[in-house]
């Protein structure tokens, strides 16, 4: 299969959905014209589909997301880009109060996607490196996905566009151009709500998502050299969460490490670890270990950011401790 970078897979997914359905449109800061967004994800779309379908908005997250709510209520399917995931908090009400509750409160459908370029490791500091997915997983009424590879980046985005609910799509900036992989051409959907075992193993389970899946796979290779066979589960969808795949894995390996780039404290990993601890209690031979960002604003300077973030080395270290437990 031909290979694409992670970012190219995202661009392809958007174009594919716009081609397929005239109700799909793109909006956000700087997404339009010849420019095509801070990361160039929407480059060329305005020329291809017209300015009306690729709309540059003023700097006004609360209201352009709110506007997407109204468009979606009328059956359009806006793909909203927030320039960095960090700025999603500026439009918070329009997501967690408005979009998230409308179906429950009176049956209105909000079939939008918010694309949030997230994650760090690339020396961008506290305001351009955030991973705010836990806020949205905790909020009733939203779906949240976080692809770890180019094929899922395309497949989950296409599924998100077609989903009748609001989906927050966290794309991992550090993977944009550093990760290439096979991506099916044409129609390709990845189901929302299904995790994937991306590396089978017998000795312990590493549960990860987004950019930490690559790190977990690298750690697994490293561990295999020591004879420790790690199974890697890529959650892919954080809400709904496919706990069954996690439980099935842990029931075989009896040991689990949960890892994400976001703050470990009260992060999505806490939910996963608490469920493993509760529902896989009888199978566990060791305590569930969590890795995540430190409880500090994401620092800029390389030694500090490296200390802040989980990586393959830290995952391997934790896995070794766990295997030796």
């Amino acid at each position: 299969m031909r290979e694409l970078t992670y970012i190219a897979a995202i661009s392809e997914a958007i174009a594919h959905e716009m081609e397929r359905d005239p109700d799909v449109l793109v909006l956000g800061e700087d997404v339009g014209g010849d420019f095509g967004g801070a990361f160039k994800v929407t480059e060329g779309l305005a020329a291809r589909f017209g300015d009306r379908r690729v709309l540059n908005t003023p700097l006004a997250e609360q209201s352009f997301i709110g506007m997407a709510n109204g468009m979606a209520l009328m059956g359009l399917r806006p793909i909203v880009e927030v320039q960095f995931a960090d700025f999603i908090s500026t439009g918070f009400d329009s997501i967690v109060q408005s979009a998230a509750t409308i179906h429950y409160r009176f049956g209105g459908k909000i079939p939008w996607v918010i694309r949030a370029p997230s994650d760090g490791g690339i020396r961008s500091g506290p305001f351009h490196s955030q991973n705010p997915e836990a806020w949205f997983v905790h909020t009733p009424g939203l779906k949240v996905v976080a692809p770890s590879n180019p094929a899922d980046a395309k497949g989950l985005l296409c599924s998100a566009v077609r989903d009748p609910n609001p989906v927050v799509y966290f794309e991992a900036k550090p993977l944009y151009r550093s990760l290439r992989g096979p991506v099916p051409e044409g129609e390709h959907l990845a189901p929302i709500g299904e995790a994937a075992v991306v590396r089978p193993g017998t000795d312990l389970t590493v549960v990860a998502y987004g950019s930490q899946v690559s790190q977990a796979l690298a750690a697994a290779t490293d561990l295999a050299a020591d004879g420790i066979e790690a199974e890697v589960v890529d959650l892919r969808s954080l809400k709904p969460l496919d706990f069954q795949t996690v439980a099935e894995s842990v029931s075989r390996t009896s040991r689990a490490v949960v890892v994400h780039s976001a703050n470990r404290l009260a992060g999505v990993g806490a939910e996963v670890a608490a469920r493993i601890a509760e529902e896989c209690f009888e199978w566990l031979d060791a305590p569930v270990t969590r890795l995540g960002g430190l409880d500090v604003p994401i620092p800029f300077s390389p030694p500090l950011e490296d200390a802040y973030r989980p990586d393959a080395q830290k995952i391997a270290d934790a896995a070794r401790r766990l295997a030796a437990y």
Binding site: S63, M67, M74, G107, G108
Partner: protein, 356 residues
């Protein structure tokens, strides 16, 4: 492209309970495009009829809550009927409205039955939110072109901007109308949305219900100048001030704004000056409002004002108005009975409907 509202709206609009004294209901919907410098007599009576229904609803609701027959809190729209009724009546059947918590009139006009509204207030399964949302929140019904209220002020504005932009995008001759209070004008999303509405020439009408208070906070503690209309005009959209207690003036103004929006002329902000006659919510005695202010505005009551005008102008005789008043009483009493008799939702359904 799909039309999530469909043409059911026209039907729904006229499917309210039969009104014996008002057989010519279509008179309430002047042909789109007609600018009513002189309003038809039947329309003028209709404005009264819907205001009376709204007022009777409000009186009854307030009495019930005082008697302990309510559930949770609620909000009176007394004194706002001169706004809430025309914003409903001036819209066409395929238009969409996103009202606030004092706009019961607009729900009724759009075809939501009083029994359903009471059902919502009482947490019954028959309310438009099915017991999920409280008081006058969440009373959306897209088949009637109504978007339920989001409490976070002024969320209704960006949502309505988006509805308007969907019409724009699809080249549909439809209009979105929404409402905020004087308090809403000081919030960030007000500014963002007005700027975008002007920028995109969105078919949007925003009525600012300037009722002089945001909860306990009078205008002069909200803004340095009361130039709501002038500030709105600064975005590059049409803006004007109206007497919110003059229902005919309001109808004309809203209708003109709707026509302008429909014909591609862009958004309008109408500042409707009025007074909140009861407290912020049912539990609020509003001791912070000077009694003289209320007395003054009591003399400008929009419902009684329209009644006097109809009689003075010889538009109809007193008997017809008394029939209307009696009809409203009957309608509302029946609605209360129906809502009180309706069941609560079953607890097992609590998780139904979070996702579509």
């Amino acid at each position: 492209m799909s039309d999530p509202l469909g043409s059911h709206i026209r039907e729904a609009l006229f499917s309210t309970p039969p009104r014996p004294e008002e057989p010519k209901a279509p008179a309430t919907q002047p042909e789109s495009g007609e600018t009513p410098a002189d309003l038809a007599d039947e329309l003028r009576i209709d404005l009264y009829r819907w205001m009376r229904l709204t007022r009777t609803f409000d009186n009854t609701m307030v009495a019930m809550w005082k008697q302990g027959r309510g559930l949770g809190g609620t909000f009176s729209g007394r004194g706002h009927e001169g706004i809430s009724v025309p914003i409903g009546l001036a819209l066409g059947p395929d238009d969409v409205i996103a009202p606030m918590h004092r706009d019961v009139g607009s729900y009724l006009v759009r075809g939501m039955t009083p029994a359903r509204v009471f059902g919502n207030l009482l947490g019954k399964v028959t309310g438009p939110s099915g017991g999920r949302d409280a008081n006058l929140h969440g009373m959306g019904d897209l088949s009637l072109g109504i978007i339920g209220y989001v409490s976070h002020i002024p969320q209704q504005i960006p949502i309505s901007l988006g509805v308007a932009m969907s019409f724009h995008y699809r080249d549909e001759p439809r209009v979105a109308l929404t409402v905020c209070g004087d308090g809403g004008t000081t919030a960030g999303a007000y500014h963002e949305s007005l700027n975008m509405a002007a920028l995109y020439s969105a078919p949007l009408v925003l009525v600012v219900e300037n009722n002089q208070y945001a909860y306990s906070t009078p205008l002069d503690q909200q803004m340095a100048t009361f130039a709501i209309t002038e500030r709105a005009a600064g975005y590059g959209l049409t803006a004007r001030t109206e007497d919110g207690n003059d229902v005919e003036a309001m109808y004309r103004s809203v209708k003109a704004a709707v026509d302008q929006a429909r014909s591609g002329g862009g958004p309008t902000v109408i500042e409707a000056r009025t007074m909140r006659m009861l407290g912020h919510a049912i539990h609020d005695g509003a001791e912070y409002v000077p009694p003289e202010l209320l007395e003054e505005w009591e003399t400008r009551d929009p419902v009684e004002g329209q009644r006097r005008r109809l009689l003075a102008g010889g538009v109809c005789d007193p008997a017809r108005l008394e029939d209307i008043d009696a009809w409203a009483r009957t309608e509302i009493d029946a609605a209360v009975a129906e809502a009180e008799a309706a069941p609560f939702p079953h607890p097992d359904t609590v998780s139904d409907g979070v996702y579509a």
